[in-house]
Assembly symmetry: D2
Homo-oligomer: 342 residues x 4
C-alpha cells in the first residue's frame, strides 16, 4: 500500500469526534439539526463570529453547500464569476449550472487567486458585448484549488470592489482551516469581508460536513426549507452537530490545520532545498512542486499523488496534499527518498 499525499480526505475523522459519537450514541434527541449538539455547535461558531445562530447551517458535502448557498443568494437569471481553477467550474459536474446559473471564468495567476486587476480586465471586455447581463456574485475559494491563500487585506480589497460593482462575495472554505492558519485570518474577519462562506470540516478532521454561514440575517431567509427541499438535511443531524461542536468548542479546528500546514512546509522546504521550483509559492497544505519526470516516476512507486500539469517534455508539476492525519514519519520518508534521488 502506497503512502498517500493525494488528498486530505483519505482517512476517517479525528478521534475526539468518534469518542463523542460513542458516548452519546444511545441518547434520544431531536432530529433535523434541532438536537443539543447541533445547537451547541451553532452557538460556538456564532460566538466566534458575532452573528445569530440561525445564520449557520450544517451540510454534508461541499458541492451541496455551494449549490445551496448560490441558489439562496441568487435570482434565477443572475451570473457568477469564478477563477477558471475554481472548484465549481470543472470538478463539480456542472452543479451550479444545474441549478440555473451561468459561471463566467476568469483567468488568474498560478495561485488561483482572483485579484481586482483580473476583474478589471473582465469588466472591460464585457463592456464591448451587447446585451450581456451583469454578474451578481463573485465566488472565491480560500485556500484556492492551487494552494493560494487570501489574506485579510486581500479580502478587504475584493469586498470593497464587489460592493462597488453590486456583487455578492462568497467564499468556498473547503480548506478554510489551512487558509486561516497560514494567514492569521479569523472567522470574524471573513464574516466582515464576505457575504457568505463555509467552514469545511470534511478536509480538516471531520467525517463529512461543512458549516455554511450567511453573514447578514436577510440573506438567510427561507434557507432551512431550501435545504430540506434539496434533500440536504440529515434526519440524524446530531452527527453533524457533534463534529462541529468538537471542532469549535475550543480551537481543535485550527490545531488540525496547523498540523497539516506544518507537514506541507516540511515537504516544501526539503523540495526547495533539493533545488526544485513550484507552480506557485507554497503557503498552505497543497503544494505543487515541479519535478523531473524521472524523479516523479520513482517517487510514485512508493507514494500516491496526482501529476498536475505537464511543464515540458522533462518536467511535471505534481500536487502533494497534507492533512490533520498526515504522519510526520511519512513526510520524512518522502523527503529522504527525494534526497536520495537527486
Amino acid at each position: 500500500m502506497k503512502i498517500s499525499f493525494k488528498n486530505d480526505y483519505s482517512e476517517g475523522c479525528h478521534p475526539a469526534i468518534l469518542q463523542k459519537i460513542m458516548d452519546s450514541n444511545m441518547e434520544q434527541d431531536e432530529g433535523y439539526g434541532m438536537d443539543q449538539y447541533s445547537r451547541d455547535a451553532r452557538r460556538f461558531i456564532s460566538e466566534k463570529i458575532g452573528i445569530n445562530e440561525e445564520q449557520i447551517h450544517f451540510i454534508s458535502v461541499g458541492t451541496q453547500t455551494n449549490l445551496l448557498a448560490l441558489s439562496a443568494l441568487l435570482k434565477p437569471y443572475e451570473y457568477v464569476i469564478a477563477a477558471e481553477s475554481g472548484h465549481i467550474v470543472y470538478v463539480e459536474a456542472g452543479a451550479i449550472e444545474a441549478i440555473g446559473h451561468k459561471i463566467i471564468h476568469l483567468h488568474t495567476q498560478p495561485d488561483g487567486k482572483i485579484r481586482t486587476e483580473d476583474l478589471d480586465v473582465f469588466f472591460g471586455k464585457m463592456s464591448e458585448i451587447h446585451n450581456i447581463q451583469i454578474p451578481r456574485l463573485l465566488y472565491i475559494s480560500n485556500t484556492t484549488e492551487l494552494g493560494g491563500v487570501y489574506s485579510k487585506e486581500d479580502l478587504q480589497q475584493l469586498f470593497a470592489y464587489c460592493k462597488r460593482k453590486n456583487l455578492l462575495l462568497y467564499m468556498d472554505g473547503a480548506r478554510l482551516g489551512s487558509a486561516m492558519t497560514a494567514s492569521g485570518l479569523t472567522l470574524k474577519d471573513i464574516a466582515t469581508y464576505t457575504d457568505a462562506f463555509y467552514i469545511g470540516a470534511t478536509k480538516n478532521g471531520g467525517m463529512m460536513g461543512e458549516a455554511l454561514v450567511f453573514c447578514r440575517p436577510e440573506l438567510n431567509e427561507g434557507f432551512s426549507i431550501l435545504q430540506k427541499q434539496r434533500g440536504a438535511t440529515l434526519a440524524k443531524g446530531r452527527f453533524l452537530g457533534i463534529q462541529f461542536a468538537e471542532l469549535f468548542r475550543d480551537d481543535l479546528y485550527l490545531q488540525l490545520a496547523e498540523h497539516a500546514n506544518k507537514m506541507a512546509t516540511i515537504l516544501a522546504d526539503a523540495i526547495h532545498a533539493a533545488g526544485f521550483d513550484f507552480l506557485s509559492v507554497p503557503v498552505s497544505n497543497q503544494i505543487f512542486p515541479i519535478l523531473p519526470n524521472i524523479v516523479m516516476d520513482r517517487l510514485a512507486e512508493r507514494y500516491a499523488f496526482y501529476p498536475w500539469k505537464k511543464i515540458d517534455s522533462d518536467f511535471t508539476a505534481i500536487r502533494l496534499i497534507t492533512s490533520w492525519a498526515t504522519k510526520e514519519e511519512n513526510v520524512h520518508a518522502f523527503v529522504e527518498d527525494l534526497q536520495s534521488l537527486t
Copy 2:
C-alpha cells in the same frame, strides 16, 4: 426527559457500525465510494439480489435519494403518481416538483397502500380531462407512511398493472426493513417487481444513508455523474460503505427490523387488549391507535409521540414508532401506564 416513540431516528447508530468505524479510522483509502468498504457493501447487496454492483448507490438522505432516482428515471415532462400520504407529497418540501416533475395524488385506504382499484379510479377520471399528460412513474413506500405493508403478491399485481400502463414502479424503502420483516419479502422479490427502490438505513440502525438500487442496468446510466452534480456524493464515502457492509454482510439489517416490529407488536397487542381501535391494522413498526383524549394527554406527560388525526371531539389517533433501539423496558412501561389509565 420523556421516553420517545416519536420516530425511528432518535438515537445514534448500531454499535457494530461504530466499532468498525473506530477500527478502520486511520486507514488511508480512496474517496467518493471507491473505498474497500463501499465495494464490500455493494457486493453484499448485489449478491442478495443478483444484479451488478454498479446498480447500487449509497446516498445520505431519503429525500435526496427520491429526488435523484426520479430525476434519473424521468424525462423533464413526465409525471409521478403517489398516494396523498406519500412521503414525497407533503413532507419533503416540494423536492420532486423542485426537480421539475408534477405529482398526482391518489386517495387511498387508511393504510396508505395504493391498490389497482385506486389506479383504475384515477385513470378513469383522467380520461375526461383534455390534454392531460399520461403519468410515467408510480411511487409507493414500503412500509407506507401509515404503517401499511406491501406483500409480494401486492407488488406482483402493481408491477403487472404498471407495465400495462407504461409506468415505472419505484419503491421508497425508508422503512424497508420493517416491511420485509413483516411480510417475508426478499430483496430479490423487490428487485423483480419494481424498477428501482431504496433500502433505508437511517431508520434502521445506520447513522444516515440509503442504498438506491436500479433493477435494470439501462436505468443506471450516468447516475454517478448526476449524484455528484447534485452534491450527493460524500468525499469520505467509506462512512456510508461501512454502514451498509455491517448491515448486509449477514442479516443485521433484518434482525434490527425484527426487534422494531416486535416492540410495536407488544404495544399494539396491549392497546388492543385495553379495548382500543386503530386507524389501520398494525403490521409494522408504526402503529396508529385511537385513544380517548384524556388517556392521550396523560400518556403524553411521560412519553413523546405525535397526535396524528383528530377522530372526533373525544378521540384522537396517535402515532407510535419503535425502532432497532427501542428498549423493551420502555415498551412495558408504556403498556403498564396505559393499563393503569383504563
Copy 3:
C-alpha cells in the same frame, strides 16, 4: 366543415390589428419591445390602471405568461394553491412544476371559483400534516376554466384573505375580457385586489399575446431579463405591441368580449328555454349545458364542441365557447337545430 364552438382561438385576429400591421410593415423600428407600438400599448394600459409602464410585459403564450410570472413572484421552495380545474393544474403539461413549484389542488364548486370557505377547509386539513410548507401564492383564473366569473366583491374578499395568510394573489386572465364584461370589473379594480395578473388577447381578438401586469413596482424587478432568459422575448416585439395598442387605444378589447358574451347568452337562453340544465350558471363566453346524449350526437354532426363530463348513462355536459369572431347566424343555426331536436 363543421361550425365550431370548440374554443375561442379558431379564427385569426381582429381586422383592425391586421390593418395596422399592413400599414406599418416597412417602417424600421427597435426590437425587443422598445418599438413605438409597444410603448404606446404599455402607455394605454398603464393609464387605465394607474401604474408605471415598466410593470407591463407582453408575452406570446398563456402558459409562458403563467410560468414566467410565478417564477418571478416565488422563491424556489414556495408553493401555489389552485382550483383543481385551474389551467395550470392539468392542461399546461406540468409547466409550473417544471419551474420548480408544487401546486396544491383545491376542490371547488362546479363553477371553478375558489371561495374563502374552500381555503379554510384546506388550511384546516393542512394543520394536521407535520412539516408541510405553507403555500405562498393563490392562483385564480377569471373567467375560470368552467365559465365562472369573479366579481369585484369576490376579489376584495379573496385579496383580504390572502393578505392575512401571507399569500400573493395572481389572476390568469386568458379570458379576462369576458369576465370584465360579465361583471363590470375594471382593470383598476383588478390591479387593486391582486398582486399580478394578465390580460389575455389570444382568446379575445389577438393573433397571440398576453399582457402581464405586476401591480406593485417591487414585484417587477429583473423581469425583463427573466423573460429574455426563458426565450419569451420576441425580436419583432412590434407585432405584440400593435395588437395591444389596437385593443387598448380605446375599448376594442371590451367590445369584442361583449360580442362573445352576447353570443353565449343567446345560446344559453335558448338551451334553457328548451328545458335543459347547466353544470354551472352560464355567465360568460363558456357554457356547459347538460344534454341528452341523443341530442348531443345529432348536434355533433353539424357543430364542433367538446363533450365535457358524463353525467349519467343518458346525459352529458358539453362545452360551448363563443368569441369575438362567432357569427350570430351560426348561433341562430345552432339554436334552431336544437329546437328541432327537442
Copy 4:
C-alpha cells in the same frame, strides 16, 4: 430617422405572408399547430430534406428554440461546447444554464467558426483536469455571429469529428438563409451532417418563428409535450404555419436571403475599394469593416449601426447588417457617403 443597418429584424415581414394571413383570417381551424397551414409548412420542409413531418417544430423565438432543443437532446448532467462568440454564450441571458447545462467556451478565429483544431486544443487541455465531465453537444451557428459561413465540407469534417467524440452536432440557424445562399448548402446537406438544427425566419422575412428540425426520429420523442410545458406552443399556430408555408412552398426563403447577401456584397465591395479592411472576410449579410473613428462618427449621423470592437485609438470595427428588406437605394446612399468621406 436614421437608415438602419443595425440588424435584420427592424422591419415587419414579407408581404406574401401578410397577404395570406389576410386571406385566411376568418377561417376556423385547429389550434396548437394542427391547422392546415402548419401541416402544409411541415410537408414542404420535410420534402426538401427527406424526413418525417413530425420531426419539424415551429417555435416563436430563437433563444426558445435553442433551449428547447438542447433540453430535449441532453441529459441533465451533460455539457455543451460553443464558440465564445456563440449566441447562447453571452447574449441569451444564460438561457442554456437556466435549463441546467454548462457551456464550455472555445476561442476561435475572428469569423467565429469552430474548427477541428480548436476542438483538439480544448480536448488536450481538458485531459489534464481531474474529474471533468466530457461534453455531449457541439453548438455552432451558421452564419456565425461574426458573419462566418460553414460550407458543406466544413460540416462534413465537424460531424465526423463529433461522431468520434460522441458529440451531438447542433446548428443554430437564425441566419441560415444567408449561410445557404453564400455557400450553396442545402437543407438536405445540413440534415445529413448535423443531429438537429433550426431554420430561422425572424431574420429572413418572417414575423417571428424558427423551424426546429431533428434529423433522426429518435431524437424527436416527446418534444411536443416539452414544447407545451415550456409555454412555447402558440394556440393560433396557424400564424407560424402560414409563414413557413409561404417561405418554403417554393424558394422564397432563399430569394430573400439572396437579396440580403447581395446588399451586403455591394457594401463590402465599396468599403474594400475605399481601402478599408475587415475583421473577417465578408461572406454573408453581416460585415465588420474597420473604419477610422472619424469616418465612423460621420456615417453614424445618418445611419444606425453598432460599433463592434475597438481596434486601436484611431480605428473601430463596426457591424453592418442587411436583410430581405434592405432597400438598394439606402445601400447606395451609404456607399456614396462613405466615398465622399475618404
